[in-house]
């Protein structure tokens, strides 16, 4: 006797229990604490905050623990949490020129005011696995806390160029309209620049990296130079209704990249370098730089550069870049689709039956021609 499948709820409960056990792993091994994750997997924490568009290192670390280290699952957890948070308003724009810089490099000058501040980075290491770390050796610190925490503002490398008019000015659009809020409003294409910058800022790093890389490989090459790439902390200020001066409510760490790109001119304006911009939460140079390449590519309509390449097309780059959306939809193919599949089965069986019928009819006709019959009689 066929018994209809029941017990879906019980199966789900069991699955959840299995997941909890998998997440904990070998109970003979110490459980990770949230502070450990926050302190020692900082770059992963930064990436999760960026893609969740929520700045909270402790919650990001918790999400990473709960998600067994999967960055997209962690970003998803954090975004879902973000939805429940009350919103008080918008801060003033952050001033990255006033950033307390911990690292700043510029590729367009050998030396410049403020200097090249190397800071903490993998760039000057050799990528050799350190088996001492596996044994649990921690090297004695050679940096004093004073040096560790040292940070100060540096003038922007593009300031001189901008003063001479060599690079296009960074000015708000006419009338200084409010930017859309892409975490609240659905996108309407084509988006204005503030809209796509927001979407890129929280897009999947791998996707933005690939898109940015494509421009360097010839799919809309924009002649980029690393103008000013900086990482450090910036103050967050809000302007409460009751006061008419801004109040600082804290600070966050961000990474900013200002690319200097292909110059262009017209009858009205002499040739100038153009810009590409990238900004992310935390320490994310790769993401900020890739973002700035894509930003410049998306500006192609301003410069009549066409849209032959994927990185120049908003509707190709932006919707597919959202890791949480992409992950959800790709993986939704695991959900039952047997009803729609059944209707496909129905059609394909019918079509095959028709093909077989036609073949049989043709074979029959071929058989029954006088020549064939004569041959068979012979």
């Amino acid at each position: 006797m066929y018994i209809a499948v029941k017990g879906g709820e019980r199966a789900i409960e069991a699955s959840r229990a299995l997941l909890a056990a998998a997440r904990r792993g070998d109970t003979g091994v110490a459980s990770l604490t949230v502070p450990q994750l926050r302190e020692q997997l900082g770059l992963l924490v930064d990436r999760v905050m960026a893609e969740a568009s929520l700045y909270d290192p402790d919650l990001a670390a918790l999400a990473i623990k709960q998600a067994c280290g999967d960055p997209i699952e962690a970003a998803f957890l954090l975004r879902a949490y973000r939805t429940t948070l009350p919103r008080f308003g918008y801060s003033m724009p952050i001033d990255t020129d006033a950033m307390q810089v911990r690292r700043r490099v510029s590729a367009i000058f050998k030396d410049l005011p403020g200097g090249q501040v190397l800071g903490p980075t993998f760039d000057y290491t050799q990528r050799l696995l350190d088996f001492g770390l596996m044994r649990g050796d921690e090297p004695a610190p050679t940096i004093t806390p004073a040096v560790l925490d040292h940070a100060h503002p540096l003038p922007n490398a593009l300031a001189e160029l901008a003063a001479e008019g060599l690079v296009e000015p960074c000015v708000p659009r006419a009338g200084d309209p409010d930017p859309p809020d892409m975490t609240r409003d659905p996108p309407t294409y084509p988006l204005p620049r503030p809209g796509w910058l927001q979407m890129l800022a929280r897009a999947d790093e791998g996707w933005v990296l690939g898109m940015g890389y494509s421009t360097q490989r010839g799919y809309a090459y924009t002649h980029p130079f690393g103008g000013d790439i900086r990482f450090g902390s910036v103050a967050i200020e809000v302007l409460p209704d009751e006061l008419d001066f801004p109040v600082e409510i804290g600070d966050i760490e961000v990474t900013e990249c200002q690319m200097v790109n292909q110059f262009t001119g017209s009858a009205a304006v002499p040739p100038q370098f153009t810009r590409g911009y990238g900004l992310v939460f935390g320490h994310g140079e790769r993401k900020a730089m890739a973002m700035s390449l894509v930003d410049r590519a998306l500006r192609s309509p301003e410069f009549d550069e066409g849209d032959d390449s994927p990185a120049q097309r908003q509707e190709f780059v932006l919707p597919q870049g959202d890791s949480v959306e992409a992950s959800g939809f790709v993986q939704h193919l695991k959900l039952p689709h047997y009803v729609t599949f059944e209707s496909e089965l129905q059609l394909i069986r019918k079509l095959r039956a028709e093909v077989a019928q036609r073949a049989a009819a043709m074979a029959f006709e071929e058989r029954e021609t006088p020549a064939v019959v004569a041959q068979e009689l012979a």
């Binding site: 001119g265 017209s266 009858a267 009549d304």
Partner: protein, 262 residues
């Protein structure tokens, strides 16, 4: 009383943003096109002829100038201020645009029959059998093998794709057809037959056409009048035979004299 033109262009000027020396792609272009008339716009590459055509088609919004079109109801429309919707409707009914590269003017992912029938379906025709009949009819008219009505354009040669593109455009009996280098890139013999076809169709259907070409032979064969462009400006215009046999402007003389006669 002289007939009214179908299309007028006045003082059209357009500059692209990245232009190095601020020279306009099209500078102060003016022309008129009359019903059942074919006008060729000739010039070397970079002369601005394609830009001029795209401005007329409403694909580029020119910096300055006037473009007016007289529609089937005898109303004068300002092409620059047409709404997106009006422009789209016009380009699927009263206008046609034959692209230089057929891939840009066809739906490569659907069959020849669907390509031809699309405009008719856009006008609300919903009878499959009749749509198919019209597709057959047009394939015959452009001398395409009707056995290939269900084939994708991928398998068509360059000349066949252009014929398909022409059928796709002419099926709604447009009043104005714009063509951007319709035969370049094709074999000489294929070109010749295609030009013959275009000439026949244009005269039978009393079409007005604006044809951009770098090939003076195309102008000679198809056009009543010819405009010569150089560096964005129209330097000479007139009856085709007169312009090609008795060029007045130094540049036209140069053009004409440099044509290699077979």
């Amino acid at each position: 009383m002289s007939p009214q033109p179908l299309l007028t262009v006045d003082g059209l000027t357009h500059r692209f943003a990245g232009a190095r020396d601020g020279r306009p792609a099209v500078g102060d272009a003016s022309l008129a096109l009359y019903p059942a008339e074919v006008v060729a716009i000739v010039g070397e590459s970079g002369s601005g002829k394609s830009t001029l055509l795209n401005c007329i088609a409403g694909r580029i919004a020119p910096g300055h100038g006037d473009i007016r079109y007289r529609d089937a109801d005898d109303r004068w429309l300002d092409v620059r201020t047409l709404s997106e919707r009006e422009r789209r409707t016009l380009s699927r009914t009263e206008w046609g645009f034959v692209e230089q590269n057929a891939v840009d003017g066809l739906r490569m992912g659907v069959s020849a029959g669907a390509n031809i029938g699309e405009r008719l379906m856009g006008q609300g025709q919903r009878h499959y059998g009749r749509l198919r009949e019209q597709a057959y009819d047009w394939m015959n008219r452009v001398e395409l093998d009707t056995d290939r009505i269900d084939d994708l354009p991928h398998g068509f040669s360059g000349g066949m794709r252009q014929r398909l593109q022409i059928a796709r455009n002419l099926v709604t009996q447009p009043r104005l057809v714009l063509m951007d280098e319709p035969t370049s890139g094709l074999d000489v013999s294929v070109q010749a037959r295609l030009l013959d076809l275009i000439r026949t169709l244009v005269s039978r259907m009393h079409l007005s056409a604006l044809i951009v070409t770098h090939d003076l032979g195309v102008a000679r064969l198809l056009a009543h009048r010819t405009l010569v462009m150089r560096e964005g400006r129209i330097v000479e215009q007139g009856l085709t035979d007169r312009v090609l046999d008795d060029p007045q402007h130094a540049y036209t003389q140069l053009l004409v004299s440099s044509v290699v006669m077979p």
